[in-house]
Each structure stands twice: as structure tokens, then as C-alpha cells.
Amino acid sequence: MRTNSHIRKRSIGQTLLIIGWLVLFVSGCRGIRVEEVSTVSKSDWRQDGGNYSRDRTTSAVLPLPLKLDWRYNAAGAFGAGSPLFFGNTLLVGTRRGDMYAINIEKGRKKGSKRFAEAIEGALVTDGDIVFIPAALGKYNLMAYNLRTGKHLWRNKGIPFETGLVIAADVIVGTDISGKVTAVDRFTGVELWSFELPDLESTYSAPLLLPSGDIVITGEHGSLIRLDAQDGQLIWQTSIPTPIRVSPAIADESLIVSGARGVLFSIDLATGKSIWESRMGSAEVRLASPAASGGKIYLGTSEGKLFEIEASSGVINWNFNGPDVFAAPPLVTDTHIFIGSMGRVLYAFNRETSILDWEFKLDGRIKSAMAARNGELFVLAEPRHVYKFIPAQRGQQNAD
């Protein structure tokens, strides 16, 4: 015979079961809401590299030596672009298709959400909105409101494996078929498109010039400058080697890493070649360059780091490392930070070219870094975000 206690026990059990199912259900519906996305600061990095010239240069002060503040497991590896940050939030997309918002101070997750099956290209934010290019999945381009935690729009189409630029109200990106697409940032409606020639795909993120034009590169060596608002062709040229990484802007020139050991400087106004400089044999792959103060910094698959005169292409010095440099350097006023496939993060003195500091991580570094005063963010294999701070900081606090 059932007693009241039986009935009660049964009810409790059923309730617990329902709660459990709800927890499971809700946990599958994760979202990210970051209130501070609306707060804008000059030190923010709202796009890959901190600016659309992708010169990988920062005015951040990072006194050496640095120490590891925290390491966060983002459950997926990273593409070539740098993380973004604003306020106390670090934003990163993973090759698992997730976007993570991480508390910069504590190194803990603020939120995460699955957007696609893979995110290769870097995210970009504008105001409250983050724009996500997807390399595989149901949607290829998404706009997500970080403050409200809701999608603004989602487009279907050919995947994007590279990053995006925002030019006024236009989002521009190049998909894997080599089609440059511009969509309205508010609605996602396509405004114009431009096709790279001859089935040419692209593996580098577009650059945005101060004039509002964009520069696109193709894997066969095409270089194209377009008006970001209407897609009008400004000029089109090519270099004789494939382009597999993003270029950088150094003053009025475009610095392009060719895949076969040659670095090119192209006049931004005309598209004409200024110089080319051989950094290694035809087997050597050049990483994305960084440009700062008339100098170019470049890592190669031979494990070399070069400093090159931006005006002439002459090599000033180089460092011979044991492992591949596949990621672009990050240049501060005093140092060049570069990570290797040998899991080592190096810091070279800009003035003396001497190695001032190095740190061994748990995995290879093949993504761009980000920094602001006193904080360096590094993405490394297998799936970790690292934050470095000056070693003196904790001691000063203790004092």
C-alpha cells in the first residue's frame, strides 16, 4: 500500500529528475552576454591585430620579464588571427566553432557559445555587435549582439576562412571560393561582390585603408584594391608567388609575404612594385609581417626572424631559431614578441636585436598575439589562451 512518504519520495525523485533534465537542456543553450562591450577604449582591440592595417604594432608597454598570469582552456584551437579584447573581456573564436568570452582579470569564462563547426578567421566587433566568419557550418557569416545575447542576423553561403573588415556600415570578407562580399552590417544583406580571377581562393584577411578602401590578396598572387562601399576596382596587380598569409601596411606601402621566400613591397596608391627581397629559398614560407617605425619584422619557416628596412627591403639583422615561425610578430616600442612552433615565446630588443626574454609554453604558437599595457595575450596549441603580465607587478603589489 502506498504511503504518503512513498508518494513524497517519489515526487522528490521526479522533481530532481526534471530539474536534472532542465539543467542539461539549458546548458546546451549557452549564450554570451557582455555588458561592457558597449564601453569603448583606445586600448581595445576590436579587430585582429588591433587595427585594419594589420601592422601588428602596439603602443602597449610590456616591461620584461613577463610571467604567466593565467592559462585558459578554450576547448578548441585557434585560427591565424589575434584575440580581441575590450574592458575586462577577451574574445576569441576557436576551430571548434565556439566563441569564448574570458574574464581578463581572473582568466575564467564569462560565456561561450557554439556558432559554427569551425571558426578560422578572426572575429571583429563594432559597438555591441561581434561579426563571426564561419569556416564550416550552417551559416557562413553571423552578427551577434554581445549585450543582448541575441543574433542580429545570420547568412548562409560559402564559408569564410579569413577575417573581416568593417568599413563604416559595410562588412567585407572573402570566402573560400575567392568571392569578395560586402554586406550591410545591420541587416546582413549583400551590397556588392567581386570575384577573384581564375578560381583563386584567399588565405589572408582583408586590410582596410584610412581612405576606406580595402585590399584583398589571392592565393595565386593577386593584389586588388577596392572601394569598400561600392566594390569599385581601384587597381589590380599580382606578384609571381602565391600569397598564403595576411599582408601589412607600412606607411604608404603594402608589405606582402610571398609563399616562396620572397617579400614584396607594393605601392598602395598605384599597385606598383617598390621592391622585392629574398628571405630564403623557394621552399621557405614567410609568415605575416609586422611593420613599425619604418622597419618590417618577419618570421619564416626556416626559423629565422628578420628586421628589414621598409623603404628598401634591406635586411638589417636576423635571428636563427630552431623552429618554424608561422605567426606574425607583435611589435611594441621596445621589443618584438614572436612565438614559434617550438612552443617558445621570444622577446627581442628592437634596438640591440638581442634576445631579452623567452618563455616555453605547452604548445606551438601559430596565431597572432594581442597586447595592451602590462598584458600580453597569446594563443597556443593545443587550445589555450595565455595571459602574461610583467613579473614585477605582483611584487610591487606585495610591496
Partner: protein, 1038 residues
């Protein structure tokens, strides 16, 4: 590897194990079967091996739980056969460490190891660029100085055929490479394997980055193709294979590559595809394919995404690209089967030698493989060189230790003027030269050379008193030697790092022609023809240049040398391998007075002394010719490749072919100089330092399993397997539990710790164990017949030695000592015993394995054992076992298999032999026939029904349906206990039972056989028909 198999006895609850001749397989052996990127068709995928490993471990756990330990002396269906992989050498391993590599070598080959170290670091630097990737671990490289040493490695359990250049195994990331006398080839193989190392790590990283299963590998044609493509330019072998495939309609388009999976053609076609991708879409696309490999399990989709074209378009482009290179030559080429008469065209045939007997019979002798075993054959021909019948076997190989294996591609035959055939086989750990009298058809001598490992291509001196040959010693270099038969003296002709091969003694005895890479072109892989003056030891050029010359042989009058050669054109692409001749009748430096005017060198003067020689190409074949000889009947006998078949053929009118060549060129030897080339080295102390070689054990496999059965309930356990870097020393830990209640977890916990040592000729194993819990044992004499389930506790240890007498025969000795307490409640038995078991077995196996089981040869096992309770005298019995199986080849595809087995256990608590089911006596249930004594015979006719189903219906390939065969059988058995005719119907004891029937055998994925038998079952010595039966099961044929 036999060492592992023989100790399957000692691992509790071993499943029946099977061996596959050259390709060992194990039903259960503690999970040490290493996934390697290698197979007897060159490569296996890690996925298939990983599945096997998982299946093995699960089987081990399940069976361990079900059966517990078996008394070793009464191991019944758990015994096994198989070849023996023998450690002939006790390698004194040393360790050299470079920047990226840990290199294992033995002292005799230090110089070669230092060169290998250089090749490895050189490859690393280049591949780091190509892959845009750095390895974050040190790579273990294991070098051997010759193929024969390489074959002894325990890093892979299988037998390694001759033409395996090296392998990379996934478990510990080890790369194993033999040198084989040629530095260029050694360098290329090092580079090839390093591509695999980078590829494997890169793909794993790509998959891991995208959280895709790490086991997903790229197709074999791509991994091998890119390894070939990135290890060097396409060589003459590549060109030969591609030409032959295209010209004879053997070419497989990209979407059909699964049909040639694992073959040499697949390697070469894969290489061509990679070259096509690089030339058409860009070199960078190759790396991009790897970077995109995560996108889809379908490689077609990956290619399509990377190239931005539909896969059929890519395939079509490749088709056109390839054909446009070769089809323009079609109008000029000769097809061997059209222009040359066939002497032996079935199966594989190579290395012809001609002899006319004293009675006038003409014979061509050659090595070949017509049905699985390699032999020396002869074929009688008439005066028009037409075959008079089929080829006959002269020397049987592959079945006995004397003629263990032939080097089919590398070693020629030689027949002296008085009819003595000299040939080489492997015999034990080294090669030997045999001499066979062709008049009397008897072997007359065998010559072994203490410090020489591999021997190739003996050639007789004209007077028959000496034999010259090529050989590789411990140091790993190939040089020429002369053996003086009467004095029994060995004379070394050169001692240098150059690769010297294919000697041929001139009819006048004054010169030995040979090929070598000692020219200045040798560093790039070229071989030229040279002569060695027997009087003064001077080495002279015969050919010179960037070409690959092989197998020189003299015309009967000594005026000409005939050889095969492949030459690169201006683009670097090698030609087909054609037959060439050169005039040796004049001294170098003297121009013949009657030089062909059309080929006169302008401005040349008769009396001038240029050092030039005319080379004449007398064939223009589609793909390749090998080992041409010029017979006394003015004919040229040679081996041709056509449609991927190697045949012996002949061309008439040799002098006419020579006087009207298809092409002639002149090689100017004026400036030919000694090569004096060398590769770089990384020397110990100068770029490499000596490391300490330690026997460190690392985990190979950790596998857990849970099983559920109505008899034992839920059981679970884990297997851990460890081994050292060389694979010589293995440790297994097995833990499982059959307890049904929480309180019984420790009481019913079983474990075994065992070690197997394989580095010496005798394989040794030992271990300790504790088994406790419910046990289901059909062989226990006290267990209830209907449900032989009881509780037993065992503590004990075991030891064993397996000594291989030869590759085909071994002796095994096993001893165990264990304390046993057996509790059978239903029979009120609570028995303790301290059991000592000793067993000695003699095993023979020279059977030839095919897809479903053995098809030729025979195998046998005889065992004597004694088990006794040394404490309480509760147990005392002896065991005898004889099991012999013959496989008679009726035709190439049909085999008659016979098995005779007798088992005898006599004494106190003698165990039962257990049979029944699809694996032996069909028509009865699995293990339903039990008796302390048993005899059994099975006769089975095995035949193919659909040998290659996927060819008829490609969809079957997806399901792994490899082969469908049939069988007709008759099985008879008689088991008894207390009396021969004392009936125990529940276990079919006391009567002769039998089955007649037929069955189907379906092979899946080349690894798993499904069996279905139907037939009639008979009782009482076939006096009455019992019933029809239908049995479905799995397992190889006996």
C-alpha cells in the same frame, strides 16, 4: 612474431590463435600488436591495426573473464603454429643523439649511422619548410645495415619482405630503416619516412585543432604519394611502373585507387598525382590539402574544397595530364609480348640463365613464383626457342631452412661452362651461395661467409674455379668479392662506400663487368657499367653519365656487353628500361677502323686516341627489361615487365639487332673521373653526442573492457602493454574482476603480470598471476557437464622458452607452478592442489597462407606434458597431443586440406579435450564434444567462388567484402573417457560422430572470415543419420 605467439599459452584464457605465414595475426596476445605503417603489400593503415588491437584486447579480457587460467599442460585449442621470426644477431645497440633525433645503431655500422644522421637532419630542415611545422618531440630512428638484419626487428611483429625500404610506426613514432648498400637510396628512404613522421604529426594536429577524431588518416595513396614526391625526383622505377600501367590499360583513375590499395602501382600513381597537383594547382596546395583534411572524412571532398573544383574535374585533369606525357610515345614503342617470344609468362619470372646440356637439351633457368612459393625453375626450349612444356621446379624455396628465401629482384643466377648453377638464398641469418649440378640435378655445395650478411648475383669464372659476387657486410656497404673454391679463400675486390653490384665474368676471364655508383653522377643515384681487371685490379669505365645501368652480361665471344639501362631526357624524366649493348672488342683509346660513318665524330682521326665508347640501344620497350643475356644461339633472353607481370622472353638474331640499333650514342670517357663524392655526415662528438641506451618501458596500449554474459554476469578489466624502444622486451599487466557483489571485489580480483623477452634467439617469458572467481571451464573433469561453472582460486607463476630451430620449426618448453583451490558446490568438491606442469612441444609450420587460411605446405604440433599436485597428490596426469595438417595444392586456386589430431590425457583429474563447432567437428555445438582422449580428422576441399567481388560490384568494397570461397568437408571424431565405447551422449563421448557438408567463407577487410556450413551430422560411426545442420560462425580455415 613467433615469440609472442608461443607465449599466448601463458596468458590466461587465450583465444585460439592463428598465424598467417608471412603476415602474422593474433587472436589474442596481450595487445602488443603494434600499429605500423607497413604491410606485406607495403603498408597498413593505423586504423585497421588499431581496430585489431582493440579487438585483441577486448578478446583477451573477455576470454580471461570467461575461462580463467588454463593449466598450461592441457592447453588444447589454444595452441598455435606460425613461422618463427628469429633473432640471429645479438645487436649491441648504441644511441647517438642529434638535434632532433635519437638514432639507434650498432657499432659495426657507425659510419653509416653518421651518414643517416646527416640525412635525417637534412630532411628535417627541408620538411620543416614544406610542412610549415615543427615537431615538438625527438624522433627515434633505428638503423640496420642490411635488409637481412632489418628483417629481424621486433618493432613490427610481421615478416618483412625483401623490398620494404623502411617503415614508420605510430605507437611510439619510431622510424626503422635498413641501408642496403646504396647511399643515395638510403638517403631517399630516410627522407621518405621523415615525410611520414611530419605528415602523421601534422594531420593529428589538424584533427585535434578541430576536435575531429585523431584516428582519421588520409588515404594511403596520398600519404605514400607525397612521401615519394617529397623524397626526391621521380626515378626510373616510377617511370617504368607508370608507363606500364598506362600502356597496358592497368592505369586506375583517381576515383578507383582503392582497387590497387597497398600495391607498388598505388605508390607510384600517388606520386604522380602529387606531382600533378603541384604542377597544375601549385606546390602549396599539397600542404593545403593536409590543412583542409579535417573538413570531411571523404578525401574527394577535401580535394574538391582545396582545389576549388569538383572531384571529377580534378580526376579528369589528372588523366589528361598523365596521358599527355606518355601517349605521344605510343607509336614508337615495342610491346614485349608482340616482339619477343615468351618462354615463361605465368606468375612472376626473373633472372634468366641459359644452359645447353651435354645431350643437347636447351634450358632456360630462372627464379620465379608461380603459386606462392619462390623456386628456381627451368624451362626446356627447342632450337627456335619455343617452350617445350611448362616450367619445372628445380629448387624449391620458402619451405625449408636450406632455401629459405630468394632475393627475386636482386640476385642473378650463373651457370658455369660445365653446368654448375650458382644461386643465392637466405639460409638462417645470412645469405649463402648454393651450387647445383644441372646434369645430375643435385646440389653439390653451399658456401657461407662468416662476415658477409647479404650476397647477390654470383658469377662463375670461365674455368669454374672461382665465383665472384656482390655482398653487403656488417658495415652496410656493397662490394665485390671473389671466392676461390679450391683454396676456400675469400678475396675482397674493393672496400669503399660505393655500391658495386651485378658482376659478370668475361669469357676470357680477364675482366669482371659490374655496375657501380662510383662515377661523379653516382651521388644522384646513377649507376654506370665498369670493368674490373682480374690481373691488375684496375677499374675502368664502360659507360659514363647520368643514367641507370643494370645487369651487364657478356656475349659468348666476349666482344660485347649487354645490359639494361634507363636514361633521363632533358626534362629529367627517365626513359623505359631498354636493352643496350656496347662493343668491348677494342681497347679504350683506339677507334675502330670501321666505325659507322653516320656516327662518325667530326674531325676524328683513326689514329687519335679519344676515350670514347659506342652505346647502342637495341630495344624500345613500353616499360622495362631486366637482366638480358646473350646465348650461344645468338639470341637474347631477358625479363620483361608488361601489364605488371614479369615474364622471360627472347629475341632472335642478336647480332642483327646489334648491328642495326634503334639508337646509338657515344660516351666520351676522356674526362670521366672517379666520383670521389660523398654525402655529409654528423659525427659523434661533432654534431651528435652519445646517449645512454637504456631499456625504458613505455606504455603501448591501455585498454579496458566490460562484458556481460548470462553465465558469468558482468565482468570487466583492463590490459596494459608496455615495451622498450626496440620492441624486444614486453610487459603485460592484466586486471579483471568477475565479482558480482561489492564485498567480493577484492576476492574475485584477478591479475597477471608477464614479461616476454625477444632479443635473443630463444624467446623467454615468465610471469606471475592470481586468478579468482567464477570460472566457466568445459575442460575441467569435475565440472558439471551441463553448466561447467565453478569457483576457483589460483596463485602461481610460469616460465617458458621458445627456441626456433629454423624459420619453420621450433621447440617450446613451458612450466607452471600454481596453487589451486577449486570449489564445485553441486559436486561437493573443494579441492586444493599445488600444481606443477611441464610441457614440451615441437612445432613445424611451412604452410603458405592465403586470404582465408593455409593453401599449401604442412604444419604440425606434438606435445608431451605432465601435471602433478606436489603437495596433496590430488592431481597427476600426463598429456599427449599430435596435430598434423597437410595442404595439397590441386590447382592454383583449389586446395585439399587434411587434418589429423590425437589428444590423450591420462591420470588423476586429467582434463578433457574440447572440440565441436565450426572450427573443427562441424554439425555439433561449440565445444560440445569432450573427452580425456580424442581423435579427430577433417578433410576439406577449398575453392574460390568469387575471388574479387569488388571488381564486379564496387559497392562491396565499402563493406570490405574481399573474397568469397567455398568448401566441401568431411569431419570425423571420437572422444572418450572411461572406455572407448562408454557412451556419454551429452558430450558425444564414446561414439564416433561425423559431419559431411559444404560451406561458404566470406572474407571481410582481408582480416575477418565469416563461415557458414550446412550438412548432415552422423552418429555411431556413420551408422545413422542424425540431423541436418546449419552453422554460422567466424574464423580462419584450419
Amino acid at each position: 612474431m613467433q615469440g609472442g605467439i608461443s607465449f599466448a599459452l601463458m596468458i590466461p584464457g587465450t583465444c585460439r590463435t592463428r598465424s598467417r605465414g608471412n603476415h602474422q595475426r593474433f587472436a589474442a596476445c596481450g595487445g602488443w600488436f603494434l600499429p605500423v605503417m607497413y604491410s606485406n603489400r607495403y603498408r597498413k593503415t593505423m586504423q585497421r591495426l588499431a581496430r585489431q588491437m582493440t579487438a585483441l584486447c577486448l578478446c583477451l579480457l573477455y576470454v580471461s573473464a570467461q575461462h580463467g587460467v588454463r593449466q598450461v599442460a592441457s592447453a588444447q585449442t589454444g595452441y598455435h603454429f606460425g613461422y618463427n621470426k628469429i633473432q640471429y644477431e645479438d645487436f649491441d645497440w648504441s644511441l647517438m643523439q642529434t638535434e632532433h633525433f635519437d638514432i639507434y645503431y650498432y657499432p659495426e655500422m657507425l659510419e653509416l649511422a653518421e651518414k643517416g644522421a646527416f640525412f635525417a637532419e637534412e630532411a628535417y630542415s627541408e620538411l620543416q619548410n614544406k610542412f610549415n611545422f615543427s615537431l615538438n618531440h625527438r624522433v627515434p630512428l633505428i638503423f640496420y645495415s642490411s635488409n637481412l638484419h632489418f628483417k629481424q626487428t621486433n618493432l613490427t611483429p610481421g615478416f618483412i619482405p625483401d623490398n620494404i625500404g623502411g617503415f614508420f610506426e605510430f605507437m611510439k613514432g619510431r622510424v626503422v630503416i635498413p641501408a642496403n648498400g646504396n647511399l643515395h637510396r638510403f638517403r631517399r628512404v630516410v627522407r621518405h619516412e621523415m615525410v611520414h613522421v611530419f605528415m602523421y604529426n601534422k594531420v593529428n594536429r589538424v584533427m585535434s585543432d578541430h576536435r575531429r577524431p585523431r584516428g582519421r588518416m588520409l588515404p594511403l595513396w596520398f600519404t605514400e604519394g607525397i612521401a615519394e614526391y617529397w623524397s626526391g625526383r621521380p626515378d626510373h622505377q616510377h617511370e617504368m611502373v607508370m608507363r606500364d600501367a598506362l600502356y597496358t590499360n592497368q592505369f586506375v583513375p583517381m576515383d578507383g585507387l582503392f582497387r590497387i590499395y597497398g600495391t607498388f602501382v598505388m605508390y607510384k600513381e600517388g606520386e604522380a598525382i602529387c606531382r600533378f597537383i603541384a604542377e597544375t594547382y601549385g606546390e602549396e596546395k599539397l600542404l593545403q590539402i593536409i590543412d583542409d583534411s579535417w573538413i570531411s572524412p571523404s578525401f574527394d571532398q577535401v580535394l574538391s574544397k582545396t582545389m576549388q573544383e569538383p572531384f571529377p574535374v580534378i580526376s579528369k585533369r589528372f588523366d589528361v595530364w598523365l596521358k599527355s606525357q606518355y601517349y605521344p610515345e605510343l607509336s614508337d614503342i615495342q610491346i614485349p609480348s608482340i616482339v619477343a617470344g615468351g618462354l615463361s609468362t605465368k606468375g612472376f619470372n626473373a633472372k634468366p640463365a641459359f644452359f645447353q646440356k651435354s645431350n643437347g637439351e636447351r634450358h632456360v633457368y630462372f627464379v620465379g613464383n608461380h603459386g606462392g612459393f619462390s623456386n628456381v625453375f627451368k624451362i626446356q626450349i627447342d632450337e627456335s626457342y619455343r617452350p617445350m612444356g611448362d616450367a619445372e621446379v628445380v629448387v624449391r624455396g620458402g619451405r625449408n631452412p636450406e632455401f629459405e628465401a630468394f632475393h627475386l629482384f636482386e640476385s642473378r643466377l650463373s651457370i658455369s661452362n660445365d653446368g654448375q648453377l650458382a644461386f643465392v638464398t637466405q639460409s638462417g641469418g645470412k645469405d649463402v651461395i648454393h651450387v647445383f649440378d644441372l646434369e645430375s640435378d643435385t646440389k653439390t655445395a653451399t658456401y657461407r661467409f662468416k662476415n658477409l650478411i647479404a650476397v647477390y648475383s654470383p658469377t662463375w669464372s670461365p674455368d669454374g674455379s672461382k665465383i665472384a659476387f656482390a655482398s653487403i657486410g656488417d658495415a652496410g656497404y656493397s662490394d665485390l668479392y671473389i671466392y676461390h673454391i679450391e683454396d676456400q679463400q675469400l678475396q675482397r675486390l674493393m672496400a669503399d662506400p660505393y655500391d658495386d653490384r651485378d658482376p659478370s665474368w668475361s669469357p676470357d676471364g680477364g675482366q669482371i663487368a659490374f655496375i657501380s655508383d662510383r662515377s661523379s653522377f653516382g651521388k644522384g643515384g646513377s649507376y654506370n657499367v665498369f670493368t674490373y681487371g682480374t690481373a691488375d685490379g684496375t677499374i675502368r669505365y664502360v659507360t659514363h653519365g647520368e643514367r641507370v645501368d643494370f645487369a651487364p652480361s657478356w656475349s659468348p665471344d666476349g666482344d660485347w656487353l649487354i645490359f639494361s639501362s634507363s636514361i633521363p631526357d632533358s626534362t629529367g624524366r627517365f626513359s623505359a628500361q631498354d636493352i643496350w649493348v656496347t662493343d668491348m672488342s677494342y681497347e679504350m683509346g683506339v677507334r675502330p677502323a670501321l666505325a659507322s660513318s653516320s656516327n662518325s665524330i667530326p674531325g676524328d682521326v683513326v689514329n687519335s686516341a679519344p676515350a670514347w665508347r659506342s652505346l647502342r640501344r637495341i630495344t624500345q620497350v613500353a616499360a622495362g627489361t631486366f637482366d638480358p643475356i646473350w646465348t650461344t644461339d645468338n639470341r637474347i633472353v631477358f625479363t620483361s615487365i608488361e601489364a605488371l607481370r614479369f615474364s622471360i622472353r627472347q629475341l632472335p638474331n642478336a647480332d642483327s639487332l646489334v648491328s642495326t640499333p634503334r639508337f646509338e650514342e657515344f660516351t666520351d670517357l676522356t674526362f670521366a673521373e672517379s666520383g670521389n663524392w660523398t654525402y655529409g655526415t654528423i659525427k659523434l662528438g661533432e654534431g651528435a653526442h652519445e646517449g645512454e641506451f637504456k631499456r625504458k618501458f613505455r606504455l603501448d596500449i591501455a585498454q579496458g573492457a566490460i562484458s556481460q554474459s548470462p553465465v558469468l554476469g558482468t565482468t570487466g578489466g583492463v590490459v596494459l602493454a608496455f615495451s622498450d624502444i626496440m620492441g624486444n622486451d614486453r610487459i603485460f599487466l592484466t586486471l579483471f574482476n568477475t565479482g558480482q557483489l561489492q564485498g567480493r571485489f577484492l576476492k574475485d580480483l584477478s591479475m597477471q603480470l608477464s614479461r616476454v623477452q625477444l632479443h635473443k634467439r630463444a624467446n623467454i617469458s615468465y610471469g606471475i598471476y592470481r586468478y579468482a572467481g567464477i570460472r566457466y571451464d568445459l575442460s575441467d573433469p569435475d565440472a558439471p557437464i551441463g553448466l561447467p561453472r565453478f569457483y576457483e582460486t589460483n596463485y602461481g607463476g610460469f616460465g617458458g622458452v621458445s627456441y626456433p630451430i629454423s624459420k619453420f620449426r621450433r621447440v617450446e618448453f613451458v612450466t607452471t607452478l600454481n596453487w589451486s583451490r577449486k570449489q564445485i558446490q553441486t559436486a561437493e568438491i573443494d579441492r586444493e592442489a599445488l600444481l606443477l606442469s611441464n610441457a614440451v612441444s615441437l612445432v613445424h609450420d611451412n604452410s603458405l597462407y592465403w586470404i582465408n587460411g593455409p593453401i599449401a605446405g604442412w604444419r604440425a604440433r606434438g606435445m608431451v606434458a605432465y601435471t602433478t599436485d606436489v603437495l596433496y597428490s590430488n592431481v597427476s596426469y600426463y598429456s599427449l597431443l599430435g596435430d598434423i595438417r597437410f595442404y595439397t595444392r590441386i590447382t592454383q586456386a583449389i586446395t585439399w586440406a587434411s587434418r589429423f589430431m590425437v589428444g590423450f590425457n591420462q591420470g588423476r583429474e586429467a582434463r578433457l579435450w574440447v572440440m565441436g563447432g565450426s572450427w573443427d567437428i562441424r554439425g555439433v555445438g561449440l565445444f560440445d564434444v569432450r573427452g580425456k582422449k580424442i581423435w579427430f580428422t577433417s578433410q576439406e576441399l577449398r575453392f574460390p567462388l568469387v575471388p574479387a567481388p569488388a571488381i564486379h560490384a564496387p559497392i562491396l568494397e565499402v563493406f570490405g567484402i574481399s573474397y568469397l570461397g567455398g568448401a566441401i568437408f568431411a569431419d570425423v571424431a571420437h572422444a572418450w573417457n572411461t572406455g572407448y565405447s562408454h557412451r556419454q551422449p551429452e558430450i558425444y563421448a564414446g561414439e564416433t560422430i561425423g559431419a559431411l557438408g559444404a560451406g561458404l567463407r566470406l572474407n571481410l577487410f582481408g582480416a575477418f572470415v565469416l563461415r557458414w556450413d550446412i550438412g548432415y551430422r552422423y552418429r555411431e560411426s556413420f551408422r545413422f543419420y542424425d540431423k541436418t545442420f546449419s552453422q554460422f560462425f567466424f574464423g580462419y580455415n584450419f
